[in-house]
Amino acid sequence: MSAPLLSVEDLRVSFPTPAGRVEVVKGLSFDLGRERLGIVGESGSGKSMTGRAILRLVRAPGQVTAKKMEFEGTEIQSLSERRMRDLRGARISMIMQDPKFSLNPVMTVGRQIAEALQAHERLSRSATRARVLEMLDAVRINDPALVAKMYPHEISGGMGQRVMIAMMLIPRPSLLIADEPTSALDVSVQAQVLDLIDELVRDHGMGLILISHDLNLVLRYCDRIMVMNAGRVVESCAAADLHRAQHPYTRGLLAAVPRMHETRDILPVLDRSDWSGT
């Protein structure tokens, strides 16, 4: 097997509180190849902090430590802030939850995407423009030339998220971290956006980390799944095996979701005493 794209060992993220430091990620280890990994958990499980820690985006007073955090053979932790900036966006990209808050409201969509490209590559103005339009086309925007001239408030949420994806993928990164990329979108648009991410990730042979609270969604779009609870991974398995999950937390989560073919009168509720001792 080839060397993993990303290799993380004993990742810990902590924040100070009046009662001492609290760890929100407690010793996380995983290897990621050119595959699609899903991280699932409820609010406060530490899943988003894991994504941010990989990009070194956890701000002080938050503290990140790890025995190893290697991306394409380079140790991320020892990189200077300047080298880190070259890595972010160019090699590892992150799609955030809500396009409304992630796009610059006073800059046209085209300029924002071009800026993402220019930060990492030196290209002529016409070449930049061609790449931007090509990318907008790749994220299935019907009239790229028109949309490139629009401002974020003139486009819909689904379109905004597609613009975000275009912006994140235009420097051709090899790892994409998507943190709840569709939770601000309608169901009908959700599927389109995820199908698009899926297709681009496959075509470019990228690695994907999909962070979500939605088990079914992660099941549909990932090869491997890690379930997190209170900063720890409680279950790690192939997506196809999730229905055979062993840990009571995973089983509880699976059972608590209403199904399309619902026949149960009462939904089973997580009994938190089951594993709180572990």
Partner: protein, 247 residues
């Protein structure tokens, strides 16, 4: 007599007409869902019934009494609303006790202490939460308080606007179970807005599918089992929610 009856309801915000020609009846004791994407006007229908979107034409009746455009004290006794975001719908500087006593005070009802205690028990909150502030509660506990507040006046009709979409799945299950139990215990009628079709399957008897301000189809919740929707938009929504024959 139907619990909620809407006929040719048009609702506007300023010049923009956001709901057009909506008519449906919800029977007493029924749980009825309004589903659709954002911007389809489903929440607006709920707001109009509650009196929060006053610019409407058509006919509305709740429990046989027609609804006017002016604030209606008696209406609050028959029909109450629970909002989507439990973080935004509770007053941050009022304790749970104050929040729950206020409706009783407004309507001049006595025996407040006992009623608050009883309602806390009904929604599954321990009595130690009674004198806490919203920021001392979790999202699920806050939504329980919001439901308790709506039930304080013992209404028969509840308007639920995405009551669980801001909550984690395990907490969502608790709140859905609670709503289901309360409905059985108190003989309530629910009109619920949601974009989550599986929740409809769990909670509701019938649903109206809305698109661009219009009701495109009224279907029984059993349609979710086999996808037997007549309208192409309903079918598309069903497919996008992951509805397939094997699910």
């Amino acid at each position: 007599m139907s619990a909620i009856s809407l006929k040719d309801l048009d609702i506007s915000y300023g010049k923009a007409k956001v709901v057009e020609g909506v008519s449906f009846d919800v029977a007493e004791g029924e749980s009825f869902a309004l589903v659709g994407e954002s911007g389809s006007g489903k929440s607006t229908v709920l707001k109009a019934i509650a009196g929060l979107a006053p610019d409407w034409t058509g006919e509305m009746a709740v429990l046989g009494r027609s609804r006017g455009h002016r604030p209606d004290r008696g209406f609050a006794r028959r029909c109450q609303m629970v909002f989507q975001d439990p973080y935004g719908s509770l007053h941050p500087r009022k304790t749970v006790d104050t929040v729950l006593s206020e409706p009783l005070q407004v309507h001049g009802l006595g025996n407040r202490d006992a009623r608050v205690e009883e309602m806390l028990r009904a929604v599954g909150l321990d009595r130690r939460f009674r004198f806490r502030y919203p920021h001392q509660l979790s999202g699920g506990q806050r939504q329980r308080v919001a439901i308790a507040r709506a039930l304080m006046l013992e209404p028969k009709v509840m308007l639920l606007d995405e009551p669980t979409s801001a909550l984690d799945v395990s907490v969502q299950a608790e709140i859905l179970n609670l709503l289901k139990r309360l409905r059985a215990e108190q003989g309530l009628t629910y009109l619920m807005v949601t974009h989550n079709l599986p929740v409809v399957g769990f909670m509701c008897d019938r649903m109206a599918v809305m698109n661009r301000g219009r009701v495109v189809e009224i279907a029984p919740a059993t349609a979710l089992h086999d996808g037997s929707f007549a309208d192409p938009y309903s079918r598309a929504l069903y497919a996008a929610s992951g509805g397939t024959a094997h699910d």
